[in-house]
Symmetry: C2
Subunit: 341 residues, 2 copies
């Protein structure tokens, strides 16, 4: 069913039908109802391409999907996607994934922009100094960054307070008497990891505790990395009495290493991990339950979608969009007073 046919069925012009369907005010109420009814009856759907061509809007937002780097290829990413989807669904906006070999990403963004496949894009996990920001700005393609770069920050972004989260978490451990605290971080070329590192150091400094660099490590946020780094930390003497871990996935590995070392979590050693609130990694379901710094990445996705739409509609200036979300510190059973000896 095409607009043309629908119109002739109704004995109306395409113009009127189009207006009726798109909610323009200059249509007689009765006529509009007739049109709406007919549209439903015939299951009429405007052709997406035609509409896009006519309006100049793509009705889609873009994500560049790096296929060979596994940075984004983790559970966080899907959860974020789901969040985006939740919001975009309401306006029937699609998400366009543009696959791209890493290194080729810039070209992919350019392609998206120039061929106007999307109205805006999302930039995730920015590096400390990320060239994509400049590119997108130059291309004039609206975008929201999930996270932040180092500086300057004259673009639209939404980030969680990674610095504060890890500062508070570290402080909590310090208050419990811990002095040997290990940091198992994500890769510090990403800004969020750097922020966590800062927060960690700031807390120790505030307590007059010196950072032992042998207890600071980073890597891909996997179970494996968590295991390896923890095993290494536990071999140090004096052994750390607490760990700050950058992801739940890593904490699973860490937990294995702790058990393998014959230690008991929450008594011999404490642990706080960052939790993006992923359905199949539930800190309450762990044994013992895991203390976390918590911020729903899904909620962030939803909000980013919202911001994106405001941006596209021209309701907001990019530079006016800066959201820094506070992070909850949720104390559960994996943290306890520092063991004395």
């Amino acid at each position: 069913m095409r607009l043309k046919e629908l119109a002739s069925h109704l004995g109306l012009s395409q113009t009127t039908v189009s207006r009726a369907l798109n909610g323009y005010p200059e249509v007689n109420a009765e006529t509009r109802q007739r049109v709406l009814d007919a549209a439903r009856r015939y299951d009429y759907r405007p052709n997406a391409s035609a509409r896009r061509l006519a309006t100049g809007r793509a009705g889609a937002i873009g994500i560049v999907l790096p296929t060979d780097r596994n940075m984004l290829l983790d559970p966080h990413y899907v959860e974020f996607q789901a969040g985006l989807g939740e919001r975009l669904m309401k306006d029937e906006i699609d998400i366009v994934l543009s696959p791209s070999r890493s290194g080729d990403e810039m070209a992919t963004y350019r392609r998206m922009a120039v061929s106007s496949r999307v109205d805006a894009v999302i930039l995730s996990s920015p590096a400390v100094d990320d060239p994509r920001v400049a590119l997108l700005t130059e291309l004039g393609l609206p975008f929201v960054v999930h996270g932040r770069t180092g500086s300057p920050l004259d673009y639209a972004w939404l980030d969680i307070d990674n610095e504060g989260a890890f500062r508070h978490a570290a402080k909590h451990l310090l208050d419990l008497g811990h002095r040997r605290i290990g940091l198992i971080n994500g890769e510090t070329r990403h800004n969020f990891a750097l922020d966590r590192d800062r927060g960690f150091r700031a807390a120790l400094a505030a307590h007059g505790v010196e950072v032992d660099e042998r207890l600071v490590a980073e890597g891909v946020m996997s179970d494996e990395t968590g295991y390896r780094i923890t095993a290494r930390f536990l071999a140090e003497r004096p052994r750390p009495t607490a760990l700050l871990v950058s992801s739940m996935m890593m904490s699973l590995g860490a937990l294995r290493a702790i058990r393998a070392a014959g230690l008991e979590l929450g008594r011999d050693i404490s642990m706080i991990a960052h939790d993006d609130v992923i359905p199949f990694l539930n800190p309450d379901a762990m044994v013992p339950t895991l203390s976390t710094t918590r911020s729903s990445i899904r909620a962030a996705g939803t909000r980013v979608a919202e911001l994106l739409m405001e941006l596209v509609a021209g309701d907001r200036a990019p530079a006016s969009i800066h959201e820094l979300w506070p992070v909850d510190l949720v104390i559960r059973a994996s943290t306890g007073p520092a063991p004395r000896n």
Copy 2:
């Protein structure tokens, strides 16, 4: 830069320029070169919507993204997506994620089809009896199913041999002398889980071993489920001496439960898990290394993309596309002879 401008810059008609760019044969070689050069110089990109409208092809394939059910929201899904992307990238085909509340999925497929946003769609993790197959067939929207439904199988599908995988794995355990084998499965409303169940039972039956239904369980494939089911199994007497697990994620939980019970994997109890080959869940990196049934879900994604394109091009009939991939059984350190007592 638009086609029109490019053409006038070159002193040619749009027709010729379009043909030159799209590789039609009736263009003079020299002219084509000029056009190609100019296109590059001006960084010309055809407008996606216009091209789509003109050709009737959307240049995109669709995936319905269920936002509230977490079925697909797991690492497997992303890995599969990456595989798809790897192939689609070559032809600059986009992936369109259409978010949809579950229950509303059918409507979303219908919308995708009727508004011709995509040329084809992928149907993942089909239920044993999945209404989506009939819908898509009726809509005439080309699709490839990743997995299979119960029957009939008169559509395009690619699946791994889940039945064979678990049959072999169970047989291996039986050959090692295990008689009390537990099955920790995904939800059997999905066909893959049902197939695994069948394979498991077939192997036991072939060995004349009776299935103890208290050692058969299913659930969402998460760490938590793995932990809980394993803990329950280990409380049975006589205790199982081996476990067959449906995902690596579950196996992490299972491993925790095993350790918590004071057992040693590979000696007191054996385990084989299914591995979709996910970068951050590496069975070789586990301690002890984990025996698996292995099949790369990413490779499957790539192949599905390939099939999809053949389908769209009309090169293949849907019913001619049936691929059943064999699954490797990789024995590592988590499997050993059944303990005697």
